[in-house]
Symmetry: C2
Subunit: 464 residues, 2 copies
Amino acid sequence: VTEHRLLAELRQAVGPAHVLTEAGQVEGYVVDWTRRYRGEAVAVVRPGDTAEVAAVVRACRAAAVALVPQGGNTGLVGGSVPRGGASAPPEGQVVLSTRRLDRLEPVDVAAAQVTAGAGVTLEALQGHARAAGLQVGLDLAARGSATVGGIAATNAGGERVLRYGVARAQVVGLEVVLADGTVVRRLSGLVKDNVGYDLAGLVVGSEGTLGVITAARLRLFPDPPSRAAALVGVASVGAAIDVLAALRTRLGGLEVAELMERTGLDLVRAHLALGQPLAGDHPAYLLVEAAGSTDQATALAEALAEVAAGGALDAVVAEGPGERARLWRYRDAHTEAIATLGIPLKLDVAVPLAVLPAFLDEVSELVAARPGVRAIAFGHLAEGNLHVNLLGVADADADQTTGEVLGLVAAHGGSISAEHGLGVAKAPWLALGRSAADVAALRAVKGALDPTATLNPGVIFPEP
Amino acid sequence: VTEHRLLAELRQAVGPAHVLTEAGQVEGYVVDWTRRYRGEAVAVVRPGDTAEVAAVVRACRAAAVALVPQGGNTGLVGGSVPRGGASAPPEGQVVLSTRRLDRLEPVDVAAAQVTAGAGVTLEALQGHARAAGLQVGLDLAARGSATVGGIAATNAGGERVLRYGVARAQVVGLEVVLADGTVVRRLSGLVKDNVGYDLAGLVVGSEGTLGVITAARLRLFPDPPSRAAALVGVASVGAAIDVLAALRTRLGGLEVAELMERTGLDLVRAHLALGQPLAGDHPAYLLVEAAGSTDQATALAEALAEVAAGGALDAVVAEGPGERARLWRYRDAHTEAIATLGIPLKLDVAVPLAVLPAFLDEVSELVAARPGVRAIAFGHLAEGNLHVNLLGVADADADQTTGEVLGLVAAHGGSISAEHGLGVAKAPWLALGRSAADVAALRAVKGALDPTATLNPGVIFPEP
């Protein structure tokens, strides 16, 4: 009866056509794209504006039904689909899809900002900015599906953080429906604004647990006319860090610094039947890209020559889009090439650069002690952000192995979730990533803003 | 008796020498530098480390005595001194001075970051960074006294926000003592870190109401070798905005864009007996400064020539430190020159650039309706951040006038406190700056993290 009344209220709120309940309709919303997370939903609702979102939130709260906000459903930690099994909230779950909130306002060229609905895809936003002669600072592989709301809710990172920062650095305003159904709107995009706490910054990265983001205002950036990439072979991860440090002081426009290891590169070569990218074979590879108003290919080549300082640095510089794409294939195909060997245990972590080589050595030791297990790490070097892929870990040993690797991360003062968030996947390890005092403060904030635990229960905070 | 016991506990916590109670000793801590705000303190305590801060916080909370955190005491809104008169908390107030927390860790050159105690002055931090070949992104006139803790607690801005952002953009880690005396420490400085809510970002700008900041980790920046400034005369504030927009697309290294009006410039000229800075007399002036690896004087001159596009732009470019200082005097002496005419009502606001000329026109109308009142505005143009100085406002009319000006700001979607914070001075107008839903959320956060209202009561939130 309660469920029946809730459905009636939801239909009233968003129109019957936008309350999906049939299995075929809801399938794409209740399972995540890794297919590892799945749950059941009372309904999937697709509100068309902020007032409708607020009505949905109020209805769910009144019915004591959990609400799971969902953008492009491209997350990797199970935070955007209903909880499954024993974790499913007893009174049921409603998925709120933001995809219909796809309004794009005109680009404010003078302020270099734009306001976009939560359901706008990153790709659509990028095209919109480009048409106004500007660019979005953020980019990631899921750009075709990932939405502005999801990017803000998860504080997404990606490959260009080195230059433009994470999502939090680019969000200059938010519209959010809070758990009580009230709407907080702050979209002026003022850079200086010290009127009370930064609620928007708090909601960014809160993974749908503090409010439903309905719109965001984002900084945009000039699109530099010259762009070049280089692939550099180095003797170790430590050497890659040194080369990056030297390049950073020489190249103001450095945007990307991706680390690869020989094992990963060899896998990609075998998978795509690609040749060796450089003259020699190297234990580690650094892919960098720079953009600016002056000729970047020349700047990169000169900087690399200076870094080599008379020694021999095995490197290649690529200028045009085709040449650059050729280098990027070695990096982009890592996930795909790894998947050919089985389903990896993926851990997205960051450690300070000073201890990154030591951390990788410790991961190697941990893996060496487990027969049949191998590790392939790659990632965003400037932030010490590694995607550690462990192959051959038995299901029964997955939690133990995860705990050990994350324990190493924590011991080095690192982050147990650099850019993917905790979701439900890493919530059990929250205490490894934050101190008891810290967790108590986070729980107090959650309790203050969502006392009924309506919004995305089970995400960030471990189940009792 | 209670007070006696509290004093004993404070002496136990920080040592008797660091609990000040005599009038002569406490004077510098209980009155702010505008001399407008003053209150009485049970004691001024000067803890020497984080554990001592925690002990002080616990003692005050147990005694139901309010705690007022204080850094360099250079704030302009009364937030760092005890509340006075009817606003004084009934059980008394303790000032916690962070000045002894002055530890500076070595600069992490590879990460371009440094960790500093809350009591380190901005000037000391700037010198420390410079010695390592880097620079602090933030600068403001009170650099000799303003502290790292105060800068973080108030989310300070200043003149270089255009390039480096506000304090929140530069703080990559905090150590904070929460109201319950627990310590939250996150100083790894990881750029990508998505493990639960951004507590540090929430505490930055919370003006001492959510925790006592004991240390901060800050981003540092390369110090470009070439630097140049230019003063440009324009026909209107709107024209200044257009010139700035055109310069921003041409100069990657633009750091400063200060707006002045003829009235302010004339006051400064009379006060310092300075000549006219440009060939002609102009309604508005724009002072810009750029820094980079290439010759900035040439770049600025070329950009200005392009902006003028054949027309005549009355401008002068200054290169060496002496020449630049000569131009900066016109801007820096504004506060001093205005003070010769009386004590101004100072309002620190921001409005979107698109409506800034209209806002200034409305302020002029508001002033014209008040005989004997005049307005002089200047500020940081890129952020639409104006310091509106009203002269000749009677004390009895100050609140009414403040409310009217802030009302205009709010009507334009602006910020009623751009960089100074609300403190106690602007707390009564919080509802003009944030919606009712927004204020309710802020109060919920405050209540969750400081349920006994121990930390800086009366700041940000208006008295009931």
